[in-house]
Amino acid sequence: MKSEEKVLLRGSEAIGEAALRAGCRCYFGYPITPQNELPEYMARRMAEIPGTVFLQSESELAGINMVFGASVTGTRVMTSSSSPGISLMQEGISYLAACELPAVIVNIIRGGPGLGNIAPAQSDYFQATRGGGHGDYRCIVLAPAYLQEAVDLTYHAFDQADEYRIPVIIVGDGMMGQMMEPVVLPPFREQLPKKDWAIRGAGGGPSRFLRSLLLDVHVLEAHNWKLHRKYERIRRREVRFDEYETHDAELVIVAYGTAARIARGAVKRLREKGMKVGLFRPVTLWPFPEEALRDLAARVGRFFVFEFSTGQMVEDVRLALEGSRHIDFYGRPGGVVITPMELSRIVGRKYHALQQEART
């Protein structure tokens, strides 16, 4: 597949192919619906690419630790899973963050909590952005809404992971994994960044070790602040978001991923009816685009947060706007997915109600 050529790919394949082209040499993971197509694609594809390792791990717990091992050697590595499996990986992600090891982790979110179901959801926002594992750490969290964006974000995720020495989590859902869209694939990365910090054997020099156990409280404090300063740098430089029809909007829907695709369809319908509605779409869930949202709030008085959950990102919206704006929420947990038509009715009703309120 040449670059610049459009190919029709399924979401899971698009993410897998983008990863391989970014220089991902190892995949470790455990089957779980609705993301099995991704490891299956990697198994097929990696057999064609020399020097790559595909290994189905015996659990997600083992998988994330294999990722840790591969990352320590300086190799670009990824894993993927769905919500309950990502729960199992939390310990490993905390260790990756603590040791400042790069890795890309894909979460194709399903209904939860517990065993839940296999339908699409967005109920792992807290898990992804609020740590999930123990300790003071962050991961970059990316939420593509379109397959081309998934390709571009996945490709770039490996660079971000290496540059900042941080785990990068890409969140999607079963719909995105299954849908097919034409995408342009990036070229295979030839040059990968050097990693002096990698542990590969002392090789005639002094031996080194990598660890996260820092018994001296002052040393651990210093390490935590060092991580914190890194996260602040990422906050300043890596925010990504998208806006649609917000230039004169009186009400803005805030949504990400598949919910944003649906919201965009709702906005189109509402605009056709003359309602001044727009869409603000975070692409990085962490760092959350709070400044951009605040800028928007300078001219927009009403926000409508729409998620496939009982309300997780809405807390970040409220935090960003600090109670300065009217914020409504509509969510459907458990894997229920509504259509743009249904959403447009719900938002339309709210829009009219707010107009009424404004007149009285």
């Binding site: 630790n65 294999m66 091992g69 591969a70 320590v72 050697t73 054997g201 090789g203 660890r211």
Partner: protein, 249 residues
Amino acid sequence: MKQVIGRPRLLKEVPFHYCPGCGHSVIHRLVAEVIDELGVRDRAIGIPPCGCAVLAYYYLDVDMVEAAHGRGTAVATGMKRCLPDRIIFTYQGDGDLAAIGTAELIHCANRGEQITTIFVNNGVYGMTGGQMAPTTLLGQKTTTTPAGRQAGNDGPPIKLVEFLSFLERTAYLARGSVHNAREIQRTKKYIREAFQTQMENKGFSMVEILSPCPSNWKLSPVESCRWIEQVMKQNFPLGVVKDWRGQPS
């Protein structure tokens, strides 16, 4: 006179933090000697446990990577798959390997990962203050079995090397001990053979080593060694359980 025994080159000049009479110190020394004698220091990478030996990287002069509790064999798998010519070994205790890390161990061994595991069996959880381990003997008193381990409640102790011998791609499995000079020398040989198994890509290798824990056994170092001789090794027989060189080709 010439010096015939001295401090191994690959033990850093750092005093051990281990308790008086602890087997870890002896085992670290054996690992250091074997790695040096085999000439693989520059391509060896060790993975210490969560446990008393978590600070092994302060003592062994090889590259080391700390893993989460029990996950050493999974981390070793990831590393070895990326760097197949390195000598990757885990150094794990009875909690790390026989409790929380057993699933990872079994699958790593089943796949025949070309890594070596040094399994330190002292029948208790040392670092956390002497709780029951999967290898604690029936009737043995620990802080979580104050009346002695009961088979009905806790099951009997696990014999890991025998357990693993059923897996086809385990190539070298042995159980040694460090409770007297003869067994220490024998165990050093097992450790060497285990590393050689890896160097020749013959499959997974493991050496379980009975080790004294005087602090948690509440015995003196000399009494602890006597206890291994008289009691522990009756339950955990010493010797080579599986050796690929004895297999038909």
